[in-house]
Symmetry: C2
Subunit: 288 residues, 2 copies
């Protein structure tokens, strides 16, 4: 652990804002406030509004790159500008769910970590460790591997039984093995599956979680509070326990309500930031 | 089946060029010919050379988007120009290995199928059918789902036993189920694992395969010829049996040898196109 590693910076920022809120900046062209331009200009305006009025309340910002890629090179240019607007102490996660053979994964890592300047990425485990390693070569960066996702068909593969345990638990254990020699790995575990979240925490007490699904997707916040924070390892006992809870549409949709989108977004971010109070992680540690 | 669906267009082009060669246009900045500019200009020049001198011998062109994303919005602009250079009868596959929750996968589909204009994409199965369906809504497009990949750690998850069969076979069966009501799905199966390729063909006689790994990765061409072509369904008995065999570095690396990169690339593409003669698929059907 160094002063500059990802988990240390995350703990510092979580403490500073008092929250484990991860702000999802995923501008949906179908949910732009009245008066916003259509197309790529509209998504840039909404993303900018989120960065200016919601990001100050967040421990990290996560951009799902698909919402920018949908506008081709122009959309990626928007994402590049949005990324440059973020202050250096605010961690930036490129939610890209990448993974490919090693030589290609190395180019994906250049794209997301070097060119876009992400502090962390999300990755898909299906290709094994070859697809993960190229993302772990930079000492100050981090990668979250998909374990149990938040979508309705998540269980179709992830719940299959492998030697008496679900595949997602096997993935969690495998990531913990990878992390033993490469301490820059965490897991994506959706809030929509509280029992699965508990099982993953039991299997991997020390891995940090990035948890989507608590907003529009209707995930279980109590389960996230109970099982989200790390119970061992470098993140345990720190503010937030290394946990990040993502809210995207739950905050962006506020822009559609009320006369002043900026104010509505700021209010929604303040509310979510308070609900995801970072002391929860530390309390959980102290409380047992 | 219509005159314009993907498998019909693929069969037409395979017959026309007499090959099931899929040309990988994945320009690697570490393998540029002497005199090429460094950076994004160099990769555009190499990609253009491949499109002009190798693509005429290929049934399809596959671009792994990571090689363009590594240069950010400028790199995606290169990919957009490369795509526009391809003639309409030459199928274009965006190798992106995407997959996300449904609302996000819908944006990925817009990015790759609408904005970039890909005829087909590659997808990751880990999130289940939610992540696949948004790519199947356009009647003339197609998606290849990762089944058994060509990288050394592919088996780490893919070979895990699920009810007595490997996960990759379960994935193949699941994709066949999805394809029953959505006949626009095939599989990615690497040539580096010939026994696994045979097992997948046995499990899914009618799904078409996109096979990477025969060039630099050292895959088994005889196994690809034996098990690659579809044995049932709409692609069986057509030229190539719906099979595409990808060669990327095996052709691009030719640019590094000899005084004339264009000539070397054309020669390598001609050689690979002949080795991957499309009548193989039909012969296999007739020969049993």
């Amino acid at each position: 652990m160094t002063a500059n590693d990802y988990l240390t910076r995350l703990a510092r920022r979580s403490e500073q804002v008092g929250s484990m809120l991860c702000l999802g900046v995923d501008p949906d062209p179908a949910a732009l406030p009245a008066g916003f331009p259509a197309g790529v200009a509209g998504i840039e305006r909404l993303a900018t509004l989120l960065v200016e009025h919601a990001a100050p309340r967040a421990a990290a910002v996560k951009a799902n790159v698909a919402f920018y890629e949908a506008y081709g090179s122009q959309g990626i240019a928007v994402l590049e500008r949005i990324r440059r607007r973020l202050p250096p102490d605010l961690l930036f996660i490129a939610d890209a769910k990448r993974g490919d053979i090693g030589s290609t994964a190395a180019r994906q890592a250049v794209a997301l970590l070097d060119e876009l300047g992400a502090d962390a990425v999300t990755l898909n485990p299906y290709l094994g460790v070859d697809a993960i390693e190229p993302f772990l070569e930079r000492a100050d960066r981090f990668a979250y591997v998909l374990c149990r996702t938040s979508n309705p068909s998540a269980g179709e593969l992830q719940d299959l039984a492998v030697d008496g345990e679900p595949l997602y638990v096997r993935v969690a254990r495998r990531v913990a093995e990878w992390a033993a020699s490469r301490p820059r790995l965490g897991l994506v575990v959706g809030a929509t599956a509280p029992d699965e979240l508990a099982a993953v925490r039991l299997a991997t007490p020390s891995l940090v979680f990035l948890v989507p699904g608590v907003g529009v997707q209707g995930g279980d916040l109590a389960a996230v509070q109970a099982h989200g924070p790390a119970r061992a390892g470098p993140a345990a006992g720190r503010p937030g326990g290394g946990l990040l809870v993502n809210v995207s549409r739950g905050i962006a949709a506020a822009a559609l309500a009320g006369a002043d989108p900026a104010h509505s977004i700021e209010q929604a971010a303040t509310d979510w930031s308070a609900r995801l109070n970072a002391t929860m992680g530390a309390d959980h540690q102290r409380g047992g």
